[in-house]
């Protein structure tokens, strides 16, 4: 299977408005989880990894009325997608036929909730289309397409927390088949009352910043943001002189067929996703150096994930560095897969492995787990995995490599 080049990155996260500030924040071991101020909320958890400032729309080809109607995830997507295209140095004609693959989950729900409140309190005497047009999850991809002048195939995928890992996998597949030479793969998601209240009601939120793989882990912290990757046919990237940051060697997609929210206790789907990804990449488990884990910080997820890594990597696990970016960025849900793929690319490119912060002691059941702790680690990597699992049992693993 031929490799796909990663040539551009863009991000909006709690740690900053671009990929560079994310890289700095990760390297400094900063935790982006702080007070949740975006909306009033009950519940027992009052923190989240909120994006501090809504990114400006910037100079894009969108009329002012359209710009006003963009949702929070649309704005994140435009900022991250624009940055990734600039980073890759894509000229307008080089991206005109590119694909856009977006992973998203709630769309403009934050905006809908506000409109809903106005309607039910009588502030709006009737529903207004201008407050509703941002609702569908497919709007972020439309905004990217129209703002950046990208008119190739367009996909919006939603498999909860693995949405944008699936979008990255689907974008890479299109390049491999020769359907497109360039693709913008992106995940975007925003905090909203619905997500907060749902996870709070499930008692899945930790009132303290999340501590993935810790003995005392107590749930997840919600986050928001966007991550974008420009994927490209390797020969196309080389021909135009683009710097190849990393190679996407393979992807694995599988399902648990087990439960609407809980992972399969043995992680059967997740394990097959890892195995399928390694098989597609033509990489042996012994060659894996680093895993950017799903690592939500819930008791169940982390236990299943370690079991999956043990099963898929065997004795190699003890020599594989593992970190969970969610300890720094919270669980950005549909954006997590793309953001974590981006973080993995950064680790391959810089040799700087991001730490898992907030963790005092790793769960003693996992003495074979080499969790990267504060202040991070400097290690030259060759092969890395990034895994994402979603509600409904939708599992995706990506295999990334340092070029050359």
């Amino acid at each position: 299977m031929s490799a796909v080049a990663v040539t551009g990155l863009g991000a909006v996260t709690a740690l900053g408005a671009d990929a560079a500030s994310l890289a700095t924040g990760l390297a400094e071991g900063r935790c982006g989880i702080g007070p949740l101020t975006l909306f009033e909320h009950g519940g027992r958890c009052h923190i989240a990894a909120q994006v501090p400032e809504l990114p400006p729309v910037g100079r894009v080809l969108l009329p002012p009325a359209t710009q006003r109607r963009l949702s929070r995830p649309d704005r994140f997507a435009l900022a991250a997608g624009g940055e990734a295209c600039r980073h890759a140095g894509l000229e307008p004609r080089e991206r005109a036929d590119a694909a856009i693959c977006v992973g998203a989950s709630v769309g403009g729900m934050h905006e809908v909730e506000s409109a809903w409140r106005r309607r039910r309190t009588g502030l709006d005497a009737r529903w207004r289309m201008s407050r509703l047009v941002a609702t569908p999850v497919a709007v972020s991809a439309a905004a990217l397409s129209q703002a950046l002048g990208i008119f190739g195939p367009r996909l919006t995928m939603s498999t909860a927390c693995s949405s944008s890992a699936l979008a990255v996998a689907s974008a890479a597949a299109m390049i491999r088949r020769g359907q497109v030479r360039v693709a913008l793969a992106l995940g975007t998601d925003a905090l909203c009352r619905l997500t907060y209240a749902g996870f709070d009601a499930l008692q899945a939120l930790d009132p303290r910043p999340c501590r993935p793989f810790a003995a005392d882990r107590g749930g997840l912290s919600l986050g928001e943001g966007a991550g974008a990757l420009v994927l490209e046919d390797v020969s196309h990237a080389r021909a135009r002189g683009a710097r190849v940051l990393a190679l996407l060697l393979g992807a694995g997609v599988a399902a648990d067929a087990h439960h609407p929210t809980a992972p399969h206790p043995e992680g059967t789907g997740a394990r097959r996703a890892v195995e399928a990804a390694l098989a597609e990449a033509g990489v042996a488990p012994e060659a894996v150096d680093y895993v950017n884990a799903h690592g939500t910080g819930t008791r169940q997820n982390d236990a299943v994930e370690v079991a999956v890594l043990r099963a898929a990597l065997g004795r190699r696990l003890g020599r594989v560095a593992v970190s969970s970016t969610k300890s720094q960025l919270g669980h950005t849900l549909a954006a997590a897969g793309a953001i974590e793929a981006l973080v993995t690319v950064l680790a391959l490119d810089t040799g700087l492995l991001p730490p898992t912060v907030n963790v005092d002691g790793v769960d003693p059941a996992w003495d074979d787990l080499d969790l990267v702790r504060v202040p991070g680690r400097r290690q030259a990597l060759r092969i890395a995995l990034s895994s994402s699992y979603g509600f409904g049992g939708h599992d995706v693993t990506l295999v990334l490599a340092r070029p050359g």
Partner: protein, 387 residues
Amino acid sequence: MTEAVAVTGLGVVSALGSGVDEVAEALIAGYGGCRPARRVEAAPGAHLAEVAELEPRRWVRSSVGRRIDRTSLLALAAARLAVADAGLPPEAVAGERVGLAMGSAFGNLAETETFVERLLARGTGNPLVFPNLVLNAALGYASIELGVTGPSAMLSEQEASGEAAIQWGAQLVADGVVDVCIAGGADEVTGLLWRLGDETAHWSRDAPRPLDLAAAGPCPGEGGAAVVLEPMARARARGARVHARLVPDPGFAVPAPVHGWPTAPDRVAAGLRARLDGVAAVVASASGQPALDCLEADALALAGTRAAVTAPRGACGDFGTAGAVAVVVAALAVSRAVVPPTVGCVQPRRPDLDVVRGAARRTPVRAALVTGLARGGIVRPVRLEEP
């Protein structure tokens, strides 16, 4: 190496009935499923395309499936019907060599409404309902119920959510990654959705008039539709009846307002022209929404098609995955040599388009094209050919 993709099973649950034969009969007879609302709370006389009977016990087998929502149930019912139509036993669609692709524009609306109402009123969420609110609930339930553990995806592409899912699934088969793929989608209509569209003057309260000069808005509908896709060689080897061959196509996009319909039909026409080559039947996206109908009629005319055009949203109503119904209509056009009439179209917007009206057209269809137009400039065509 690319596998030819065979369509071996069709399943539909809609206002036109349940199961491909019942739905085909209704379509060919020109029956309109848009009727004064009965189940959904709407103004007296307002037209909706509602699914009359949807009994969970008929479709749900697992214990976790007892909490299934209506949209997921529509998708599951369509998937089970498609599997039965393909002549496959249930165990043949379980396992890791089976793929699943589902589409939905809005997912589970009814429970999202009650959840948000409670949240805004009391400030708390309902933990029993929340797992059903993810957009991929229909995908999760279908995977659990059918036992599908291969690659799966939920797609949401406005009005082209059904076409997008079917094309994603077809690509899995073409890539040789799966032996069988079930692909389709579902959307539901609720009282709130009707009210939103009514207060914003989006819906027509009367039956819709797709591609007609008098089109005054779509009629909200609901339903689920799915196809079973297999590698052609495998389908032939097991002696399956092949409805049609599906041409995998990633689609394209055109300049458009982010939240609305493209205004320039020439780009749509340019993209569709090659895909319309040799096509005898076009299954249109037109819903009675004037901006969409204009765009589509102009684009088809510009592309120079002489195909018979039919717009099933006149019969089954407008919803994000009505395009999956359109794919079923196209497959039936190829396999049964019949193009159903466009319910509600009396005087076509463009006289140079051959819109099938009144009675169904019996004619050999070697190739049919679903246009797959959606807001924001998405185009997800699905071309079906004689196997």
